[in-house]
């Protein structure tokens, strides 16, 4: 049973703070993703990674960066949090193309 875990379910940060969101998967998946989920906008891809130390920009990478030092862990970094980054953040992993993406429970981030 695939498990994707995220470090926090709820997070409250102040404007300008550096924020780290962590994601871990336990099924040796090579591909990992970060999305943000907003009402009326659906899921939008922020960054993804096909392998350790590799990263690709998604559709909305501005204001974010990522780190993948180990295969099982994919971190999303908000260098200087802003109020428009208040959102639900979802991490996902997948074995390969055409397969199911497995999602984490999400982190609801509030930036005040």
């Amino acid at each position: 049973d695939v498990k994707v875990t995220q470090s926090s379910r709820y997070l409250v940060k102040r404007t300008g703070e550096k924020v780290f969101l962590e994601c871990v998967q336990d099924m040796d998946h090579e591909n990992m993703f970060w999305y943000r989920q907003d009402p009326g906008l659906g899921l939008r891809l922020i960054y993804f990674s096909y392998d350790v130390k590799m990263k690709e920009k998604g559709d909305i990478p501005e204001g974010y960066s990522v780190s993948r030092e180990k295969k099982e862990r994919f971190s999303l970094i908000l260098e200087s949090a802003s109020t428009n980054q208040t959102s639900m953040y979802l991490c996902a992993s997948i074995l390969g193309q055409g397969n199911e993406q497995y999602f984490g429970p999400g982190t609801r981030l509030t930036v005040t």
Binding site: G42, L43, F48, Y50, L90, G98, Q101, F103
Partner: protein
């Protein structure tokens, strides 16, 4: 450009009524399409994918390349079907998905 459109934000039906959640896509090649579902307080999970041609929880979806649609259907809705449903399209290269904006299905008795 690749795009997924779900025209309805909210679909409200009575228990036992048929359900159709619409999904249209824009894609130049051979698409891989999925439906994901998120029940209240649960994580997003795969409901079905077009290549499987299977029925999950009574739901089916047929890929219509002529109409570029992948509508999700169920003949008799149940209250436990109430959830947010996302249609998704596999991108041309790699494994990332493009999601629609989602449709909330509300089934009442």
């Amino acid at each position: 450009a690749q795009r997924v459109t779900q025209p309805e934000k909210l679909l409200s039906v009575f228990k036992g009524a048929p359900v159709e959640l619409k999904c249209n896509y824009s894609y130049s090649g051979s698409p891989e399409l999925f439906w994901y579902v998120q029940y209240s307080r649960q994580r997003l999970q795969l409901l079905l994918r077009h290549i499987s041609r299977e029925s999950i929880k009574g739901f089916t979806a047929d890929l219509n390349k002529g109409e570029t649609s992948f509508h999700l259907k169920k003949p008799f809705a149940q209250e436990e079907d109430s959830a947010m449903y996302y249609c998704a399209l596999s991108r041309e290269a790699g494994t990332a998905l493009i999601f629609g904006k989602g449709t909330t299905l509300s089934v009442s008795s």
